[in-house]
């Protein structure tokens, strides 16, 4: 049973009927979350309505780091066990994670202009998230720049694991160094310093983003698997492998 799930074809049979469900759930959660965060939630005592950017910015920041951990972990198992499923999952997740990182950077920039008075500064938090974005881009480019997919998977997996050291830097940058970005409100010791009426929409949005990720991952997994089959077919027709 355990080994069956490692077989990509078997996994596709399982996830195919699940995709409409995950799509439906993510749309419902997104609509509920947006209604709560843009309309129902209170304004902030300092930031006014600009605080609503948080409901997009913070969940996408969490997603960008979570998906990167997922890619690095899959790459690790891929390197050790050589399972196609692990490599393909990592490759399928990378563009989704890169998009969430881009959303995080762009929404953060749009939030920074009215609140801080600047679109961008080179402080430790902002710079380390930009580096995370470059790691995503590097991973995607690297995994596609070899004729032989398995070679690209190997090198890009090593890159993904190297990039893992960036994650604690992102997390603790606001505590170790003085930055323009404020310290964490929720993932810290003690009670979250965010009011419950704002925390609930934030968590709904986070849940919605998780479901969007799962939905896109299941679709992209099948796509990457077909890409891989095509690659093998092409290589056979060019005589690279027999």
């Amino acid at each position: 049973m355990k080994n069956q799930f490692v077989n990509p074809g078997f996994l596709v049979n399982y996830i195919k009927p699940l995709t409409p469900w995950s799509g439906g759930i993510s749309i419902i959660l997104l609509l509920v979350g947006l209604w709560f965060s843009l309309y129902q939630s209170p304004i902030d005592y300092q930031q006014g309505n600009a605080v609503r950017i948080m409901y997009i910015h913070v969940p996408s920041a969490w997603m960008s780091m979570g998906i990167y951990s997922f890619i690095a972990l899959s790459s690790f198992f891929g390197l050790i066990y050589g399972h196609i499923t692990a490599f393909t999952l990592a490759k399928a997740a990378a563009p989704i994670g890169a998009t969430f990182t881009a959303i995080c950077l762009i929404s953060g920039s749009a939030w920074g202009k009215p609140m801080w008075g600047t679109w961008w500064v080179w402080d430790a938090r902002l710079t380390s998230v930009l580096i995370l974005f470059f790691f995503y881009i590097g991973y995607i480019v690297f995994s596609k720049s070899f004729n032989d997919f398995s070679k690209g998977e190997k090198f890009s997996s090593i890159l993904a694991i190297i990039g893992l050291v960036n994650l604690p830097i992102i997390k603790f940058s606001v505590d170790y160094w003085s930055t323009l970005h404020q310290p964490a409100s929720i993932s810290k010791f003690g009670a979250p310093s965010i009011h419950i009426d704002m925390l609930i929409p934030l968590l709904i949005m986070f849940l919605a983003f998780i479901f969007i990720f799962i939905h896109l991952l299941m679709i992209r997994f099948q796509l990457e698997l077909n890409n891989r089959r095509l690659n093998i077919k092409n290589m056979k027709s060019y005589g690279d492998i027999k």
Partner: protein, 155 residues
């Protein structure tokens, strides 16, 4: 040791070496990684001659209560404090929305060090900061205005 164990050890040692080298790099650059100095840090650095007259620095802290003064046109002056030491700031330009007394701000600009000799012929350094840009920090607390009023926070 089989091939799989060798791979695991290689990957873990790679990550360990990376972490260590990164730690050394960030430790060496710790002065450059921080985004701003506090007034106390600036005063220590001035007395050690690490910051010279006209240096471009970023200075961060709280705007001292009742220190904000409006001059002619866009000219303003205020004091940035870290509750230990204070530095006078003069600035000409647009202030961010969140700028108010008691708020955390970061001023970017040049520092002027005026050397004065007092009666006993002891050299004293007086600091003046000409900001070219002022950024507002906001804290990690989020709450509706009613709650902050109930808590007695100024808004």
């Amino acid at each position: 040791m089989n091939k799989r164990q060798k791979k695991i050890i290689t990957i873990f040692s790679l990550v360990a070496v990376l972490c260590f080298s990164l730690f050394l790099i960030l430790y060496a650059l710790r002065d450059n990684v921080i985004f701003f100095y506090s007034p106390s840090e600036v005063k220590i650095k001035v007395s050690n001659d690490e910051i010279t007259n006209g240096s471009l620095i970023r200075l961060g802290g709280l705007v001292l209560e009742n220190s904000f003064q409006r001059g002619e046109g866009k000219n303003v002056s205020f004091i940035i404090t870290d509750l230990k030491s204070e530095i006078n700031i003069s600035y000409s330009g647009i202030l961010p929305d969140l700028f108010r007394e008691g708020q955390g701000v970061i001023a970017e600009g040049n520092i002027e060090i005026i050397k004065l000799k007092n009666k006993n012929n002891v050299l004293k350094k007086q600091l003046k900061f000409y900001a070219s840009n002022v950024l507002a920090k906001h804290d990690e607390n989020y709450m509706p205005p009613e709650v902050s009023e109930a808590l007695g926070l100024e808004y």
